[in-house]
């Protein structure tokens, strides 16, 4: 008995501390194992089987091997196309959003009148990101660009095709000898400007915070050494916010993935067509691809990243 007590007493303060730590993270740990880890494993299991829901609740699994994967890539009507467009959009959007938000953060970090108001407006899209609101806003936006009321917006859209539109400029620059790939990318970027603005609220705030965390003495030194604004940006500002570029890229990739069409397709396959196995395949494949993209991008950026501390 006394030995046990002595043993208990021997438990060092740091060990006690450690146990306390486990107590603090306990709710999350249970939740993670229960909801996330188990679900991910189940998802993998589903994707290799044919799942039928029993009338009394519950389900039975028939192992079918790679059949679901083969079906998704060989026979499914739209999956491959949806997957490639989603990934393509992601690859186009991520650099655009990153650079746009960096640019805006630098602009908003300067002191000017009404700065708080402008920041509040820039953050609005994050607050109003409900599905229904986003859809209605997209519709309202197309009406605004039509410039006319509800009913005649379609006419306006039809009229826009004939005048000086985006297509006209694309043709003009194309005849100047700028390569088609660049042109397509730029015109795509211009066409999606409102999407990009709406998707970069959080990123702008992260960059603003990063900019404010750069010690002012560094800029002072740069000025005394006679660096121009251009040099200061590339030699001081950019390296200092490099770590946050990774944060932003990760956030953007995940965000654009959750809103992509693949996810919708997976949802529909599961809950309208009741093909749970196929839906799991869709989700899994796109998740793996997203994670691969994340790993590659992070590696690429990390090599060039400078860590101050």
């Amino acid at each position: 008995m006394s030995q046990v007590k002595a043993k208990k007493k021997k438990m060092s303060l740091s060990r006690k501390h450690g146990l306390m730590g486990y107590l603090f993270i306990m709710p999350w740990l249970i939740g993670f194992l229960w909801f996330y880890l188990r679900s991910i494993l189940l998802s993998v299991e589903f994707s290799f089987s044919n799942l039928t829901v029993n009338p009394g609740g519950g389900y039975t699994l028939d192992f079918v091997g790679l059949d679901n994967f083969l079906y998704a890539f060989r026979a499914h009507a739209t999956y491959k196309q949806v997957l490639t467009t989603s990934i393509g959009n992601m690859l186009i959007d991520v650099p655009l959003i990153t650079f746009f938000s960096l640019f805006m953060a630098i602009l908003l970090n300067r002191k000017f009148k009404g700065r708080t108001l402008v920041r509040a407006i820039f953050f609005l899209p994050v607050i109003l990101n409900s599905g229904a609101i986003v859809d209605a806003m997209a519709l309202a936006r197309s009406m605004m660009s039509g410039g006319l009321s509800n009913a005649s917006a379609e006419i306006a859209e039809a009229a826009a095709g004939s005048g000086v539109g985006l297509a006209y400029y694309v043709e003009m620059f194309g005849s100047l000898g700028i390569p088609d790939v660049v042109l397509e990318y730029l015109s795509g970027a211009v066409g999606r400007i409102s999407d990009i603005i709406n998707a970069s609220g959080v990123q702008i705030i992260i960059f603003i915070a990063a900019l404010q965390s750069i010690p002012g003495s560094m800029y002072e030194v740069a000025r005394i050494e006679g660096a121009t604004a251009y040099e200061t940006f590339w030699k001081v500002t950019f390296p200092m916010i490099m770590p946050h570029i990774i944060t932003n890229v990760v956030y953007t990739v995940v965000d654009s993935f959750t809103q992509s069409e693949v996810v919708e397709l997976a949802y529909d396959t599961a809950f309208t067509e009741m093909n749970y196995g196929l839906s799991s395949v869709f989700s899994l494949v796109s998740t793996v691809i997203t994670c691969l993209i994340l790993v590659i991008v992070c590696r690429l950026i990390q090599k060039r990243t400078f860590y101050y501390n």
Binding site: S14, H17, G18, G21, Y22, L23, F24, I25, P27, W28, G31, F32, W34, F35, Y36, S39, I40, L42, S43, G57, G58, L107, V118, A120, I121, F123, P125, L128, N129, S130, G131, A132, A136, M137, A140, R141, M143, M144, G147, L148, S149, N150, A151, I193, S194, I197, A209, S213, T247, V250, V254, F257, T258, Y267, A270, S279, S280, S283, L284, T287
Partner: protein
């Protein structure tokens, strides 16, 4: 003659160059012009982007006041000729506004409180204690942020369709319970730190607590405060900026969320953002309005109605919020 003029000119130029006063003025003038141009450039960009963001919102607000005549009149743009409140009264009726809004706010508020308590606790645990496997476990938090919820939606659905904890529920109840179409799954998941974007909140809290000086806790410990007392009465108060940030984020995102609401089949009467998506269909069915353009006006009114509480919260807490995001740990 010509040469003389040139010489004159040259000396004049040189004289000007030698004139310090002129040189100073010139530099100042150039700098002023530069500053002005830069300011103008900045103004144009900011105004333009604010327009892109605010434009559709103004569009929605204005068209929610359109009467039928305004809608069919191509000359009417943004300002209705015969404004009407009929859209709002109809939208309010079909949304069952006050009741649904109350329930929605209660739902997201209660989840917010749970989120803040649980996520701050977990974040604190990761930030201040050393325990085995800490690094791997924190990597799991990052996995939670990175892996989209869509990957695990099916197993979650199955789990809650036949909810059972190690057979305990079956023992008590006779069979596993179906928790779908109630908000209970959402509460359970949030309580166990796996709610809507909980990973992000844990990360934010972790970063913030790591930035706080350790001396505060040591002093509290010396004065005989227990760990829980220190956490609730001292650390949580100090973490107020990140508490505000997480509170607003989770409140607003929960209020806007339709993914989990759809997945768990949570009733429309608790989640107003889900109810809004069916308002057009129900109005067209009951009122026999078939023109989609007119139906759109009702939807606009409904959207203004559901935006109001978020915008009020945002306007009231906007300053603390943005400062909070900047100071709290999103930036490591």
């Amino acid at each position: 003659m010509d040469q003389v003029k040139k010489a004159d000119f040259k000396t004049g130029l040189e004289r000007l160059k030698a004139d310090k006063q002129f040189a100073n003025d010139r530099i100042r003038w150039i700098n002023n012009a530069k500053g002005f141009l830069l300011g103008l450039f900045q103004l144009i960009i900011i105004v333009g982007i604010c327009y892109v963001i605010l434009g559709p919102i103004f569009g929605i607000i204005s068209s929610s006041f359109f009467s039928d005549a305004d809608n069919y009149n191509p000359m009417v743009y943004l300002i209705p000729q015969e404004p009407t409140l009929e859209r709002y009264s109809m939208a309010m009726e079909y949304l069952d506004y006050w009741k649904t809004m109350g329930a929605s706010l209660l739902y997201s508020l209660s989840l917010m409180v749970i989120q803040v308590i649980v996520c701050s606790m977990v974040g604190y645990g990761f930030a201040r204690f050393d325990f085995p496997f800490k690094k791997i476990l924190f990597a799991c938090v990052v996995v939670m942020i990175v892996v989209p919820t869509n990957t695990i939606m099916l197993p979650l659905y199955m789990t809650f369709a036949k909810f059972d904890v190690f057979g305990i529920v079956r023992l008590v109840n006779g069979s596993a319970v179906n928790l779908l179409s109630t908000p209970v799954p959402m509460y359970i998941m949030t309580l166990f730190g796996c709610g809507l974007r909980s990973g992000l909140y844990i990360y934010i809290f972790n970063q913030f607590f790591r930035g706080l000086p350790k001396e505060i806790e040591e002093a509290a410990f010396m004065d005989g405060a227990g760990t829980w007392y220190t956490y609730f009465r001292i650390m949580l108060i100090n973490a107020l900026p990140s508490v505000v940030t997480v509170a607003i984020f989770s409140m607003v995102w929960q209020y806007n969320d339709t993914f989990y609401a759809k997945l768990f089949l949570i009733s429309d009467n608790i989640v107003i953002s889900k109810k809004i998506s069916t308002i057009e269909a129900s109005i067209s069915n009951v009122e026999k309005i078939l023109d989609p353009n007119i139906l759109e006006l009702y939807l606009d009114a409904g959207i203004v109605l559901i935006m109001i509480p978020i915008v009020i919260i945002y306007v009231l807490l906007q300053k603390q919020f943005i400062e909070g995001v900047e100071r709290s740990g999103i930036v490591g």
